[in-house]
């Protein structure tokens, strides 16, 4: 199959336990090149733990993870070189400007980077001299993505990048993510916003209690559900409150 050659991330029977709790319980999925793959699920479903296992941050209890053919369990150092990571609720050093931080992160990979080009990528060029503490929530997340791009990674992992952002900032971030994908990157994203997954993802896996309970393109999932005879009790109105909000407040982002 030609498709299997395009697989950049292959997770098989991944298990991760914390003491008596099995946070990730036999998860398998694979992600193709240039795909935006979403991992959905309620809080505590095991999304973040799954990502952290792939990102080499947590030792795996069982299963295999291959990233671009590299075994995450035995070749973690090589894996780190080809992934870009945006962690949930992680921060950056104080007292360094955005440009200096990007240069520093580049040096960790032994690369000299052009900080302004990276900041352009996430539309933060005018903030190059600012420090992270001075950024708004949306700007912080965008900077986080810029920092994940310093090593020109093969796969980028975004862990709930839009949690806590206002509708304008979310939409803006979606634009950034789509553009990065269009430049040839593969993106794995976790979220618990269904509209986000529907908007961004080529395929999604839905996790609950440490297991993947469904995996397909979003439209296909909806079709399957409808084909099974599902009907919403209340017929969807043609506009949602979010549409009202956006039409009243506009699409321009407010955090600049």
């Amino acid at each position: 199959m030609t498709e299997s050659r395009n697989i950049v991330l292959d997770v098989q029977d991944l298990v991760k336990r914390y003491g008596a709790i099995t946070a990730v319980d036999g998860v398998s999925f694979s992600v193709r090149a240039r795909e935006i793959f979403g991992i959905l699920g309620p809080n505590g479903a095991g999304k973040t733990t799954t990502l952290e296992c792939i990102e080499t941050l947590r030792p795996v209890d069982a299963g295999t993870i291959l990233l671009n053919g590299l075994n995450v369990r035995t070749q973690s150092q090589e894996v780190k070189r080809i992934i870009g990571v945006q962690l949930q609720s992680s921060s950056f050093f104080d007292k360094l400007s955005l440009a200096e931080l990007l240069v520093l992160f580049g040096e960790m990979y032994g690369r000299s980077v052009d900080p302004l080009a990276l900041l352009d990528e996430v539309e933060l060029r005018d903030k190059s001299r600012a420090q992270v503490v001075q950024l708004s929530g949306g700007q912080k997340q965008r900077f986080s993505i810029a920092a994940a791009l310093v090593n020109d990674p093969v796969v980028i992992f975004l862990d709930e990048p839009t949690t806590g952002l206002d509708p304008q900032a979310r939409r803006h971030l979606w634009g950034v993510i789509k553009r990065i994908r269009s430049e040839g990157k593969t993106i794995v994203i976790t979220t618990h916003y269904m509209d986000e997954a529907e908007e961004l993802c080529d395929r999604v896996a839905i996790m609950d209690a440490g297991k993947i309970i469904a995996m397909a393109p979003p439209q296909e999932m909806i079709t399957t559900l409808l084909a099974g005879g599902f009907r919403k009790e209340k017929v969807e109105r043609l506009a949602s409150l979010e549409d009202v909000f956006l039409s009243l407040t506009g699409h321009t982002i407010r955090d600049e």
């Binding site: 992680s90 921060s91 104080d94 007292k95 360094l96 200096e100 520093l104 960790m108």
Partner: protein
């Protein structure tokens, strides 16, 4: 490069600069203005060359509460006097016989410590008189003459500055590292670093290197300001000062990393760090000489790491001690360094 970046981050923290570089200097200057005028106890060195004949006199001298009596040979006691460790040294000559000797000599720095020397002389004379009349009343009085002796006239500043330097090395190692790392841990900055190819040890090395560089800078500034503006009688070997400072820093960095390892938040660090540092600040002879401590406390405190550091820096800075002369302190620091680093390796956790 991580060292440089860390340095940049450090230098841009105004509070950090204030606390590490300026605060110790401020303490030194403030304490330098304080004059401790009142005569407390008088440090009296007694050189008893008369053996058993002098024993009665010695016992009488020791019973005087004003005196803090130390016995020693002529050489050692005069040496201590020269350093300013004794206020007065009394010589009981070999030919001394109670109630027959006409003269006895004491030495003191009349110029630098006129009050203490004169008062000490008077009290000694009284003791001599009592001793003479106790034996057989009406016999000859032994007259004490106090001869001037030029000590190096060390001031409290000379005592204080090396002490404060040691204190700031300890604070930087323990508070700086423990708070710094716990904050990096808590805010997820370390996790973000571990998804890059950087190795944890490289990061630690950079952090340690940065702090040692800051330390060298700080030592240079403190000694420089001391010599130029505070009349510090610095006669030591600056390289030896740096060496001891770095050894001390390694000891306290080890403790700092240990604390960072067992603490989950800044709230947990603070009390632990204080439990370790406060007793040492009080007992290691930073602000006041340990010679005022009761004997058993003094012997316990003499093995504290801060004591080794402060004593070592002090001997080098103001007594011009050589490497050989501060070997005990260096060995003490090396031992503590081994202990603290072993502890750090065991206790330090990234998560």
């Amino acid at each position: 490069m991580l060292t440089l970046a860390s340095m940049k981050m450090f230098m841009r923290q105004r509070e950090a600069i204030l606390w590490t570089l300026l605060f110790p200097l401020l303490v030194v200057i403030l304490f330098g203005f304080v004059r401790f005028n009142g005569v407390g106890s008088i440090g009296l060195g007694v050189v008893n060359e008369a053996g058993a004949t002098g024993a009665d006199l010695l016992a009488r001298i020791k019973s005087v509460r004003t005196f803090e009596v130390t016995e020693g040979t002529r050489e050692s006691e005069m040496g201590e006097l020269a350093k300013g460790e004794r206020d007065l040294v009394l010589l009981i000559p070999a030919e001394y016989a109670p109630a027959t000797s006409a003269e006895m000599t004491a030495y003191g720095d009349l110029e630098a410590k006129p009050q203490v020397t004169q008062l000490g002389g008077l009290v000694l004379q009284r003791v001599l008189d009592e001793s003479a009349f106790a034996g057989a009343p009406g016999l000859r009085r032994t007259a004490l003459s106090t001869l001037p002796f030029k000590s190096r006239n060390l001031t409290y500043m000379d005592f204080l500055l090396p002490g404060i330097l040691s204190m700031s090395i300890m604070q930087m190692g323990i508070f700086g590292v423990a708070f710094g790392f716990v904050s990096l841990k808590k805010r997820g900055i370390l996790r973000r670093l571990w998804v890059t190819p950087i190795r944890p040890n490289d990061f630690i090395i950079a952090q340690v290197a940065m702090r040692l560089l800051v330390l060298l800078l700080q030592m240079t500034i403190m000694v420089g300001v001391g010599i130029l503006f505070l009349n510090l009688h610095f006669i030591g070997n600056i390289a030896l000062i740096y060496l001891m400072g770095i050894l001390g820093a390694v000891v306290f960095l080890g403790f700092g990393f240990s604390l960072a390892g067992i603490s989950k938040s800044e709230d947990q660090v603070a009390p632990l760090a204080n439990i370790i540092t406060l007793p040492m600040l009080a007992l290691s002879g930073i602000f006041f000489s340990r010679s005022n401590l009761p004997g058993f406390v003094r012997s316990i405190t003499s093995v504290l790491p801060l004591t080794y550091l402060a004593d070592g820096l002090r001997s080098v800075a103001i007594d011009g001690a050589t490497l050989a002369q501060v070997t005990p302190q260096i060995l003490g620091l090396v031992l503590w360094g081994v202990v603290s680093c072993a502890l750090a390796v065991r206790l330090f956790r990234w998560e």
